[in-house]
Symmetry: C2
Subunit: 337 residues, 2 copies
């Protein structure tokens, strides 16, 4: 059912049958390290280059998610997913051998929200018995794509975030088969918001207005406020973006101080891990969802969360041409199963 | 309703209320030139660089499609679309000021098929009263992204195609409001197919196996064959890819010689326009759909077509790392309204 301007409320909410998270060594040493399904010590994932490493990461994660749900590749109707790289090459080469029909998505670091939102609609609409939603990022592919060669060893300002090496994948179904981890009861689709931030080393500031817009729209469309949720969880605003989001919400009459959590802040310990403002990348919210958020929903420690992966629509081409960095954020309401 | 392994048949097919196509000067001089809604003589679309030009092209096209259907921006629930550029910057910056919730897609040149397939499911599922599906490409942004600087004036082999400067957009709705141009009765979602083609100047050969796979899957899932369609229309195989597709189909017992049409072959005159194997780019199938295919369906010259935009999953990074060029093709069955 359409609700308000940009939301959907499901009469029969699709279930998250299960999920899987695989992360890199640095993420394994962080506060969530013990929660991931697997931590790969080799940044190359046994491959010859960074892009193949990210592809291998995706493939392993999707396979693991399918296995954990007691399913086979042929049970999965669609894959919806993406990564940060130009032309989605981590995904294209990663999921190829699974031989599952693919919808490639690009929402920058909001991709997990985009995949789950679209996936929930396809599932609830009766078009997929089972599907997989996934997103990945890799520190080294992202640095190569967006910033400097690693060998250059550039200085990073304190507003910068650290791209997470990780992939998260969930399996959605219209029915609560097995031992589901949650259900998706509503979706709020984001639009592009641009307040003119031009600093590619401050993604949090670029994304916070988009996160604000999606959360605010969700409140309007569902006629709720922050008290409706046990947590409102953004993707990778980091410490700088969080402050801006809380300010924007406060100015609009909402106090998110206690209810807000950011995956980018949770995933690293800034003191010991030198990650500055926090973690980022599509993989950041995806692995935090699968390792930390879904288990809490399953155990009913939380009953309802608004999961809002946030993306900064940055490319080296647009940046070098002097364009700003617009943001987008996709909201998914996830409840205990 | 799910059909076979990778298809959906709609009990209540979503309608294509209308579409719009805007193309560049060269496309305007080609065989379809008079059919486009507009031809822009300025390759820069009045902007300062190629990427902004493509963004402007997208914005104008979506606005025109909305206007032609007698609608306003606020009537459009979602935009589903993309382009060929890294991080979809043509789309991100193009549709921003429309303020419509966005699902960014990347399917290389299959993007129009991906957008219409997903869009049809969202519409038929009751999640969007109206939505827009779109795809664009621009010759100069694509050359810059994938090949050589234009100033270098590199030689192009005869297997190469010419990226179309153009954008096509359609408006979908669950109801036949106004004077609809067609309806989407089924969708076959493609998967990645890689036969190991490594020649970035021969995209037709890279995409033909994917087109074959999707068309063959459509036949299996819907229990039909080539006689079911007035036309089977691929995106941008060009002359080389068409030959491979027909060979592959023939070896599997299907003669597509008469029923097959390729947008890349239709859009340019290879003799007078020096375009070699044909046109390509997401815009190629998108503008051909909106200017040529939909009008024929509306006039019932054709009653049912299988529209199969084809994508080559190429990036300079993967190519330079010695990877092959996998293909993907998304099928959409469009019938007279």
């Amino acid at each position: 059912m359409q609700a308000g301007k940009a939301s959907v409320i499901f009469d029969r909410p699709p279930y998250i049958l299960g999920g899987a998270s695989i992360a890199g060594k640095k993420e394994g040493q962080g506060p969530l390290g013990k929660l991931f399904d697997a931590v790969e010590e080799d940044d190359m994932f046994g491959k010859d280059n960074w892009e193949e490493a990210e592809s291998e990461l995706q493939k392993r994660t999707v396979k693991l998610a399918i296995e954990k749900c007691g399913l086979a590749n042929r049970d999965i109707r669609y894959l919806l997913g993406g990564d940060l790289l130009g032309q989605l090459i981590a995904t294209s080469f990663g999921v190829m051998e699974l031989e599952i029909p693919l919808y490639g998505l690009y929402g920058a670091c909001s991709t997990m929200g985009e995949a789950m939102g679209l996936g929930a609609m396809l599932t609830a609409g009766g078009f997929a018995d089972k599907l997989a939603a996934l997103a990945s990022s890799h520190f080294a592919t992202a640095e190569k794509q967006f910033r400097y060669p690693l060998e250059y060893g550039n200085q990073r300002p304190y507003s910068a975030t650290w791209t997470v090496t990780g992939c998260g994948a969930v399996i959605l179904s219209p029915r609560p088969e097995g031992d589901p981890e949650g259900k998706i009861t509503a979706v709020t689709t984001g639009r592009i918001v641009d307040l003119g931030v031009k600093d590619s080393m401050n993604m949090g500031a670029a994304m916070a207005p988009a996160a604000f817009h999606t959360i605010w729209q969700n409140f309007q469309d569902l006629r709720v406020n922050e008290s409706w949720y046990d947590k409102i969880i953004t993707g990778d605003l980091g410490a700088v973006g969080r402050k801006i989001l809380l300010d924007l919400m406060r100015k609009n009459g909402h106090d998110l101080e206690k209810v807000h959590m950011d995956c980018g802040i949770e995933i690293f310990d800034p003191e010991s891990q030198d990650t500055h403002a926090g973690g980022s990348g599509c993989g950041c919210s995806a692995v935090t969802l699968c390792s930390y958020i879904l288990p809490k929903l399953k155990k009913r420690e939380w009953k309802r969360v608004l999961f809002v992966p946030t993306g900064a629509l940055l490319s080296t081409v647009s940046f070098n041409e002097g364009q700003s960095v617009p943001g987008i954020a996709h909201g998914v309401v996830i409840e205990s199963p």
